[in-house]
Every structure is written in C-alpha cells, then in structure tokens.
C-alpha cells in the first residue's frame, strides 16, 4: 500500500545522531499536537473571557464533553481495526431513548436491551469480517436501523432519565469539575487497556498488519468482534451519559455525534489505517471540539451558524500542522 514508507525507514537507519535528535523532536511535537491544540483553544478562551476559566465555567463549557468523549472512544475502537462506523451517532440516540424509557420504567428489560444492542455490534463485526463487507455501507445501513428503533421506542421527544443516572452526572467533586475528572478517567482506563495490555497490542495489530497477525495464529474474527463490541459498549455509555445530562431524550439527539466522533479520533492523532490510534489523544480531541464549537465561538461573538464550520476548520488546521511536522520528519 505504501511503498514510500519502507524507503523512508531505510533512510532513517542511515541518519546521523544529530539528525536522529531532530527526528525525535519532530515526533514528540507530533505526539503533543492534540494537547497543543487544546491548550491553544483554552488560551483563546482565557484571553477572551478570563472568568470562564473557573470551576463553574469549566463545568458549564464541558457540559457535553463526557458523551462526546465516550462516542469518540467508541469510534476509535472501530478505526483501530481499519473500519469506520457511520452509525455511532444514531446508536447513541437509540441508547438515549432506551435509557429515558425502559431503563427507568423497567430496569431489567432496559439492561437486557442495552446488552443486546452491544451484542448486535459484535455480530456486525463478525459479519463485516466473514463476508468481507465495506464497513461504511453496513454501518450507514445500520444508522437507519438504530434511528428507526429509536423512533419506535420514543415516537415523541420526552421520557426521563433514571434518578441514579441524574445523580451521577450531577456529581460535583471538590476543586476539579466532574467532566475533567471523567475525561481523564476514560482516557487513562482505555489507554491502559489498549496500549499497555498484550491483547490491546493484538487488537491494534489487527489494524496494523492483519496478515502477519493471522499467520501468528491470532483469530482476526475474534479481534474484529471484540473491537466492535467495545465500540458498542462505549456507545451505550455515551448515550446513557448524554441522557444523564439532558434529562430527557429525542430520537435525533445523537445524530451529530457520528461525524464529531470521527473528527475527534483524527484530531487526537489517530490515523485512518494501520491501527494507529491514541485513546488519550481521542479524549483530548473530543474536548477540543466540545470547547471550540460552542464556548469559543460565543466568546468571539460569532453566530452559532458557524459552529459546524469551526469543527471543520479546526480539523483542517490541525491536519495541516501535522503535514508540516511530518515534512520535517522526513
């Protein structure tokens, strides 16, 4: 697929130590890019409205950051296996509708439905692997399925979140706002699981070099099922967190999350092919998008019409910066 890569790595071997130092710096810069973009957005907010940098300000600005971060992690698992999930947004909406109805009124059935939907995700992974299907088309079709189910569960906006969920999402820890603690926890747990355990390496390897992994005796069917099931699990968590914040649901509530989640993964340093993803980066990417889309624009007095464009612009700027750094790497 990428003949130039092998050539580049041969070059690398021949380089002197000084050049190697420059290379390491470029690589470090590239790794820090997600954090740098978040810092830049935070600085801009602090400069425009210093009062926003407070416990209360962050709680407000990062209000929706937890569900976005969870949906981004879900998408990241799928991307790690060289696939793409275009249904995660409507899936989050479906989970939201179930959370606001069944999970409150009949918790056991609600839990069964949510576990079943994770099972559907696992089955999709198996189907995509066994029939060698394009994940884009399968998940695009599934996005209709989830949306249809969401409308069937909750035909009109409404419902109510279970009280324990409302209590959890309204948690106010001392000193550090809850969204920041939650984002840190999500990032660290997934980072440990995917980057530091041996099966995590196998999962990423299934995206990096599937042929080699299969020859080493690992089941690619199993890795794909696990990756999709994890995506389903984090999709469920995202939908539940979302309803815990908004208190009631609507069948279209998650629709914007599909594209936001892809953007978050890419912003966080993830690559589309090769199993190269970063959980902490993905969470940072999600936070950047959550902050830049709405609070930053409001402080800059830019009308909300341009919120979506801000996401696109940030994506393009960060990718452009990445190209500049990569050029230095060569």
């Amino acid at each position: 697929m990428r003949p130039e890569m092998t050539a580049a790595s041969l070059d690398t071997a021949a380089r002197t130590s000084a050049e190697r130092g420059a290379l390491a710096r470029a690589r470090l810069l590239r790794g820090l890019l997600p954090a740098l973009s978040l810092a830049l957005v935070l600085l801009a907010i602090a400069w425009l409205n210093p009062r926003a940098i407070s416990y209360f300000g962050f709680s407000l600005m990062l209000n929706l950051a937890i569900p976005i971060a969870l949906a981004t992690i879900a998408q990241m698992f799928v991307i790690a296996g060289n696939e793409l999930d275009l249904s995660i947004g409507t899936f989050v909406g479906f989970v939201g509708c179930v959370t606001a109805t069944w999970l409150k009124d009949a918790p056991l059935i609600g839990v069964a439905i949510l576990l079943g939907s994770i099972g559907v995700y696992a089955l999709l992974g198996a189907l995509i692997h066994l029939r060698n299907l394009p994940s884009i088309v399968v998940t695009l079709g599934m996005s209709f399925v989830w949306q249809g189910l969401a409308i069937l569960v909750l035909p009109k906006p409404g419902g109510k979140a279970p009280d324990w969920l409302l209590g959890l999402m309204a948690f106010k820890p001392p000193f550090v706002p809850f969204p920041i603690i939650a984002a840190l926890l999500i990032g660290l747990i997934v980072h440990f699981g995917l980057m530091r355990t041996s099966y995590g390496v196998i999962l990423r390897g299934s995206g990096g070099n599937p042929a080699a992994l299969a020859r080493a005796g690992w089941s690619l069917l199993k890795t794909k099922i696990v990756l999709f099931a994890l995506a389903g699990l984090f999709g469920v968590l995202s939908g539940m967190a979302l309803i815990g914040i908004t208190t009631s649901a609507d069948a279209n509530i998650g629709n914007g999350y599909t594209l936001l989640a892809i953007a978050g993964v890419i912003l966080g340093g993830g690559e589309f092919v090769g199993g190269r993803v970063s959980p902490i980066g993905a969470v940072i990417g999600a936070l950047t998008l959550a902050l830049a889309a709405s609070p930053l624009l409001t402080f800059m007095h830019i009308p909300p019409d341009w919120q979506v464009a801000a996401n696109g612009a940030i994506l393009i700027i960060v990718l452009a910066a990445r190209v500049l750094i990569s050029r230095k790497e060569r």
């Binding site: 394009p134 209709f144 249809g148 452009a320 190209v323």
Partner: protein
C-alpha cells in the same frame, strides 16, 4: 436460453430484478391500482439519486478510501445558490443552473485540494469540507427567497405520456457517462487508477489530474442535483440533500460497482435507485410507521450488501 444466461451474469441485473419484485409486491397489495403512477413517481424520484450516484460511482471507482461525504452539504448549498440566482425569474433559469453547477464544481475542487495539500484520506477531507459547506449554507440560506421560478418548477415536474422528461434526460446523461467510463481516456484512466494506482502512474496516467477531475465532477453533479431538487420540490432548504449520502453510496454498491475500486457499473445505478425508491413507496403503501420504514430500509440495505458482498472493503 443462452442470452438469458449471459444476462444473469451481468452484475446490474439483480438491482433491476429487485426493483421489479418490490413493484410487483406493491401492486399485488393494492390489487393493481396505481401501478403506472407508481412507475412515474419512482422514475422522477430516482433521477436525483442517479445523478449523484454516478458522481459517487466515479469517485468510489478511484480505489479504496475514495468516497465523497460532502454531497449532502453540497446539494443543500447549490440548491440555495440556484434559487438565489434564479430569484423567481423565469429568464434566469439557465444562469441559475450554471451557478449551481459552478458552486458544486468549486466544492469538488476544494475537496481535492484538501486531499492533495494535506495528504489526508478523502473521507476526512470531504468530511471537514462538508462541515464548512454546511455552515456556509445555514448562514447564506437564512431569509433567502427559496421558491423556484414557476417555469423551472414546471420543467422539473414535466411529464410526457407519464414519463418524466427529467428521467429521459438523465437516461441520456447516464448513457454518456457509460461511454465516458468504458470508451474514453478519462474513464479508462479512472478504472486503471482504481485497479492499481502505482501501475496506472507508471503507465503514464496523470493520476493527480484524473483524481482532481473526478472529485470536481462529483461535486458538479451534486450541484446540478441540488438545483433540480429545489425545482422538483418547489423550494430549497438546508436539509434537502441529507438522504443522498446513504443513497448515493448505496446505489453504487447495490448496482454492482466494486467498493474496492477499478470496476464500475452505470446501468446498476439506475436499477438500484429504482429499487430504493420503490422500496420506500412499498413501505408507504403498506402503511407502516416512520420508525418501521427506517428500520426496514436499513435492514434491507445491510441484507443486500451481505448477499452481494465478498469484496475488499472501501478503505
């Protein structure tokens, strides 16, 4: 007998058979009532899917990872631009169509510029572009004259003997697209790039130029589609193109084009578009609710892909 057999090996025949089956199921349900009217309605609606489907087909044929996710936003913006330029005035119809075409082509060119300059996968490039286009559309379309001129609306809805004129024109256009694909240097180059981009480059194909042309073509078709949609539905709005993201990709894949690239099929786009439109008509005739309709549409698309599958993935 032999000719039937050779017909059955054509990948596009299945989409037409599917469309026929759905149509028969519907008229069996209504007892034959409205059979002709249904074909007319299906043809007029399928046109819009076919136009963007052909653009998407050329893009997908370029090979793994190539897909245009900016079509819905593009269609929305172009429909607003066309209606603004026409301004309810019959004498401005041609200018408005040209404006929509130019707007779409500019979006397509911008898509390729991002792919080329940032060296990012087309999915991400067209995604970021669609974010920005969507905002431009929302901001631009606010408080805008959105009604088409009466002459243009009549033209978009014009029928001769129950056959929509727009459908006839689109058939001619798809014949042109098929010739371009199979018999012209441009189309052969697209196929060559999709089969093996390095081999195509070594064989002297100007890969960059062909990809640029293909994304611009897809954008331009999205633009013209937006203008026609606004004429047909007698008004433009931001969401007018939303359903065409799934539809454009689905008709390409159901129609027998390889998602791995390098193998395209124009007649299949028509068959698949008719199949999808008739499917919706059937579900509406059966009187199912919006939720069930979405659910079944999704399940049938996943089912068809599973049955047709077996090729390398789109990325």
């Amino acid at each position: 007998m032999a000719s039937v057999k050779s017909l059955l090996t054509k990948p596009w025949i299945w989409s037409f058979l599917g469309a026929l089956l759905v149509w028969l199921a519907t008229i069996a349900f209504t007892g034959g009532y409205g059979a002709g009217g249904m074909v007319t309605a299906a043809l007029s609606l399928a046109v819009f899917t076919v136009i963007v489907g052909v653009g998407q087909m050329f893009v997908i044929t370029l090979g793994p990872g190539n897909v245009d996710l900016s079509l819905p936003a593009n269609i929305g913006l172009a429909s607003a631009v066309a209606m603004k330029v026409m301004d309810g005035n019959d004498s401005m119809i041609v200018v408005g169509l040209l404006a929509a075409l130019a707007c779409g082509a500019a979006v397509g060119a911008a898509n390729y510029l991002l792919i080329w300059a940032l060296r990012i996968p087309p999915i991400i490039a067209t995604l970021s572009a669609s974010f920005i286009i969507q905002s431009i559309d929302i901001s631009y379309g606010r408080g805008l004259q959105i009604k088409p001129p009466p002459g243009f609306a009549d033209f978009a809805n014009w029928q001769i003997l129950g056959i929509p004129v727009l459908a006839i024109l689109t058939v001619l256009f798809t014949i042109g697209a098929a010739i371009a694909l199979q018999r012209m240097i441009y189309g052969r180059s697209v196929l060559a790039i999709g089969q093996n981009i390095r081999a195509a480059w070594l064989a002297g194909v100007n890969v960059g130029r062909i990809r640029f042309l293909t994304y611009t073509l897809s954008g331009a078709l999205g633009g013209i589609d937006g203008a026609l949609l606004a004429g047909y539905f007698r008004g433009a709005n931001v969401d007018i193109g939303n359903e065409y993201l799934l539809a454009s990709i689905a008709v390409v894949v159901i129609g027998g084009t390889s998602v791995a690239g390098g193998k395209a099929n124009v007649p299949g786009v028509w068959g698949a578009a008719l199949f999808l439109v008739l499917l919706l008509t059937m579900l509406n005739t059966f009187g199912v609710s919006a939720g069930v309709r979405l659910l079944l549409t999704g399940l049938i698309i996943v089912g068809v892909i599973t049955a047709a599958g077996g090729q390398k993935a789109l990325r």
